[in-house]
């Protein structure tokens, strides 16, 4: 019985691979878009324009405080009702990019704040303009400090992307869900699905740990 199911599962191999590809591309695209916007958010959050920082902070908080599933539904069900028609894929990318922008924003802001004060004083004393100081001196150091957290964020992104399967995107989780309707062995199917995620995420968990250790030793 079990081997029979494994054999049948082999027929679904392409579906699973496609799902894996979808999961990876969803995560990568969202990391890219979210990274750019998150960088901007972080700069604003750590910046001196109080009201803007507050507004962005509130925005970030709204998304950090609600379940991603609800956000996905909002993108998929509510945006069309105000005239923004999105395919499931775009809705998913939008929701995931936005979420990663919010998390990356907070990470970047914490990195900027972790750069010692003396650095910006030295930069000021040399007459750098505000944005030069940020670009040449503060951001490179801030990004180095938060590198492990950014890798950690990407891991979260890969895992959160599974939630998008709820609106019918054919990602790894969704393909597992489809297959389990035909082969009623959840342990086998979602075991295999789990292996798929593990292959992507585990090396990054490893990488993040190593970076963290290196960061710590370089701070000493």
């Amino acid at each position: 019985m079990f081997w029979f199911q494994v054999e049948r599962l082999l027929n679904y191999w392409p579906l699973l691979l496609k799902g894996l590809g979808m999961t990876v591309s969803l995560s990568l695209i969202s990391l890219l878009i979210g990274g750019v916007i998150g960088l901007l958010f972080g700069i604003i959050r750590a910046g001196r324009i109080r009201w803007l920082s507050f507004v962005v902070g509130l925005y970030i908080d709204l998304f950090r405080g609600t379940p991603f599933l609800v956000q996905v539904f909002i993108c998929f069900f509510i945006l069309p009702s105000v005239g923004i028609e999105l395919s499931a894929f775009s809705a998913g990318v939008l929701a995931l990019s936005n979420l990663s922008a919010c998390f990356i924003g907070e990470i970047v802001a914490s990195g900027i704040k972790a750069v010692p004060r003396g650095q910006s004083e030295a930069a000021l004393s040399s007459g750098f303009r505000h944005w030069q100081q940020l670009r040449l001196i503060i951001l490179p150091q801030a990004l180095r400090i938060v590198r492990p957290s950014l890798v950690g964020q990407f891991i979260l992104l890969v895992k959160d992307s599974s939630v998008i399967s709820a609106i019918g995107i054919m990602d790894l989780t969704r393909s597992g869900w489809m297959i389990v309707q035909n082969i009623p062995n959840g342990l086998l199917i979602f075991g295999v699905v789990g292996v798929g995620y593990f292959i992507i995420c585990y090396p990054m968990i490893f990488l993040a740990r190593r970076m963290e250790r290196r960061n710590q030793s370089s701070l000493l």
């Binding site: 405080g65 991603f68 609800v70 539904f73 895992k159 599974s162 939630v163 699905v193 789990g194 593990f198």
Partner: protein
């Protein structure tokens, strides 16, 4: 969009929403309690020297951290019946939440213990206290303090994650929101009410974390 918000619908569904809110709280509470127990056990196993006890605990933590909760949830939901274990969905959900968060709790506690300076272990050993006394009076108080904020953070994650139980048709806050959306074709009202419910819990937990760090700072800490 918000101008057209139909408040009546929200009032009409208020009892259902309230019930969903309570269910979310209840499941999150049970899930977190389970996660703490699992996390403490897993952590204890990962820092003790016996290899055959350590390996499964490390594997548990790593596998959970490297896979999404939704896949874990489906694994249990579609898998347990295979093993002849028939549980109500809500229980499966709580178990999944506890298993998932347990791994993160283990990591948080472990980093708390690792953060205790080596000198403290050495000092406590040379003071002639027994192992349990050393743990109880010297190591644990220092190890626990820095874990409280991350643990509250994990509780926040868990509460939000509990919304995924709606996908195995457990009735909780997100599910009620979806019902309003689908029964009445009012996605804005349904999802706004859901989001508001989760935000309430989020801000309460956040305030708790802030309170804790305000009143539990050691003298002289920034």
């Amino acid at each position: 969009m918000l101008g057209n918000l139909n408040i009546r619908v929200i009032f009409e569904y208020f009892p259902a929403l309230w019930q969903g809110f309570l269910n979310t709280l209840m499941m999150s509470g049970l899930g977190f309690a389970g996660a703490m127990i699992l996390g403490i056990i897993a952590c204890a196993l990962t820092i003790q020297p016996l290899r055959w006890l350590r390996a499964p605990a490390v594997a548990y933590v790593d596998v959970i951290r490297a896979t999404p909760l939704l896949a874990q949830l489906y694994f249990l939901y579609f898998g347990l019946p295979r093993l002849g274990i028939l549980l109500p969905e809500i229980l499966i959900g709580i178990v999944a939440l506890a298993l998932n968060s347990g791994a993160y709790v283990a990591e948080i506690i472990r980093s708390g213990i690792l953060a205790v300076p080596r000198g403290q272990f050495e000092a406590s050993m040379s003071s002639g206290l027994t192992y349990l006394q050393r743990m109880r009076f010297i190591i644990l108080p220092q190890a626990i303090r820095p874990t409280v904020s991350p643990l509250i953070g994990q509780a926040i994650v868990l509460v939000k994650d509990s919304s995924l139980l709606s996908l195995i048709s457990v009735v909780e806050l997100a599910r009620v929101g979806q019902q309003i959306a689908l029964d009445r074709f009012m996605p804005v009202e349904g999802l706004a009410a859901t989001a508001a419910g989760f935000l309430i819990i989020y801000y309460m937990l956040k305030a708790l974390a802030a309170l804790w760090s305000r009143f539990n700072r050691l003298p002289g800490q920034a």
